[in-house]
Amino acid sequence: MTIKRWSRDEMAAKVARDIPAGSYVNLGIGMPTLVGNHLSAEREVILHSENGLLGMGPPAAPGDEDPDLINASRAPVTLLPGGAYFHHADSFAMIRGGHLDICVLGAFQVSVAGDLANWHTGAADAIPAVGGAMDLAAGANRVLVMMEHLTKAGESKIVERLSYPVTALACVDVIYTDLAVVDVTRHGLAVREIVEGLAFDELVRMTGVALSDRRASA
């Protein structure tokens, strides 16, 4: 292939671009934390961290880290003026109660129905850990997923049916991969954007599920 896949940073920029000013957003552990780097202070977006922060600011400057001021990924962060602290039950009340406009999550797989798998590989000897993934996936108004389009073995992570354990059913709204941006709609998956140099038909072949072409240019 001659295409240049989007980097994680380019994917994060696309997610950031699609977050309306004024949104309340939770950025999940891993790749989604990169989205924070692409949000500008002039377009206010309020970040929630499930360990009890609203109005989370940028990472703490070296030397200014405070072990009591971390995000859900355990990284030292800051709080913006206007931010607030609260306890875990209140924090997940925000999540489960539908008050978050958007959460951005990593994934192992997303199905055509928007089912999400991101908490467990299902391997028999793996130690399971779920954290807030199921709450976020079930609770946020819009769930945006960031993941590579293909596994290292070249299999599509967008699938007809999940083979990994479910995090939440029918929850994903948009999938951002290194090859495409795909909306999950009631009428199936709709491709909104494709990496330069990749034909729609080729994307369909690589993905292996039905996709419709809804690109602005299409």
């Binding site: 000013a21 004024g22 309340y24 002039e42 377009r43 206010e44 309020i46 929630h48 609203l54 109005g55 709080l79 003026p81 206007g82 931010g83 607030a84 602290y85 609260f86 997940f92 009340a93 925000m94 999540i95 489960r96 109660g97 539908g98 008050h99 978050l100 609770g139």
Partner: protein, 243 residues
């Protein structure tokens, strides 16, 4: 004081609105309106008066009381704008407006134990589908409700109480909608703020972003849609009444 609004850029969040009329704009006929306050404390009087002026009809009101004297909720009831009230303590020596409507069959009452009312509002805000509570088991207020014995104790199944709008009275607020309350004026405000699609807060003072202690914010702005200054009780009383 420079209004907090002035400081917000075009893509900045600014939930403050300049007038009480702006604050209650768009409340539709038939709405369920959660109204904070307990007796004299924490009642959003200015917003209730503004709702009276605004004109929405066929309202369902969720409030601990059903109005006292001839002002506030009582005036809204007297104007025939309330179809139904969900309430724990409607009766009081000065609840004559409600009493008259109730006895005339012109208002519907759903009586709810105070703690169950608070918990149903909390469930609405917290995304809980339903919950089992021991309160009211074996009483008339649990008539017809599903019950279950859990750990040897009988419980009643209760469902969330959602609002289209909540009107709350806080002490201070900022342009992100963060709120702190004053003493027992807190009461239902914080939990109603979580339970409505659109929460409108009247505050004594709008303060600059960052002025509220993040350790002491009671209602984080995520739960609030609009903030309006209504400087004190006298101002509220001075608001022209439509009825």
């Amino acid at each position: 004081m420079i209004p907090a609004t002035r400081r917000a850029g075009p893509a900045m969040i600014d939930k403050t609105v300049p007038t009480l009329a702006d604050a209650v704009a768009g409340i539709a006929d038939g709405s369920t309106v959660l109204v904070g306050g307990f007796a004299t404390s924490g009642v959003p009087l200015a917003l209730i008066d503004a709702l009276l002026a605004q004109g929405a009809r066929e309202l369902t009101i969720v409030s601990n009381h059903a109005g006292n004297g001839d002002t506030g909720l009582a005036a809204l009831l007297a104007a025939g704008r309330v179809r139904r009230i969900v309430c724990s303590f409607p009766r009081h020596k000065d609840s004559w407006v409600f009493d008259g409507l109730y006895k005339a069959g012109r208002i519907e009452l759903e009586l709810v134990p105070q703690g169950t009312m608070a918990e149903r509002l909390r469930a609405a805000g917290a995304g809980i589908g339903a919950f089992y509570t021991p309160t009211a088991y074996g009483t008339d207020l649990a008539d017809g409700k599903e019950t279950r014995v859990i750990d040897g104790r009988a419980h009643v199944l209760e469902y969330p109480l959602h609002g289209d709008v909540a009107l709350v009275c806080a002490d201070r607020g900022d342009r992100w909608g963060n709120l702190v309350y004053r003493k027992a004026g807190r009461n239902f405000g914080p939990v109603m703020a979580t339970a409505a699609r659109r929460t409108i807060a009247q505050v004594r003072e709008i303060v600059p972003l960052g002025a509220l202690d993040p350790e002491a914010i009671v209602t984080p702005g995520i739960f609030v849609a609009r903030v309006v200054q209504a400087s004190d009780r006298d101002d509220a009383a001075a608001t022209p009444r439509a009825a």
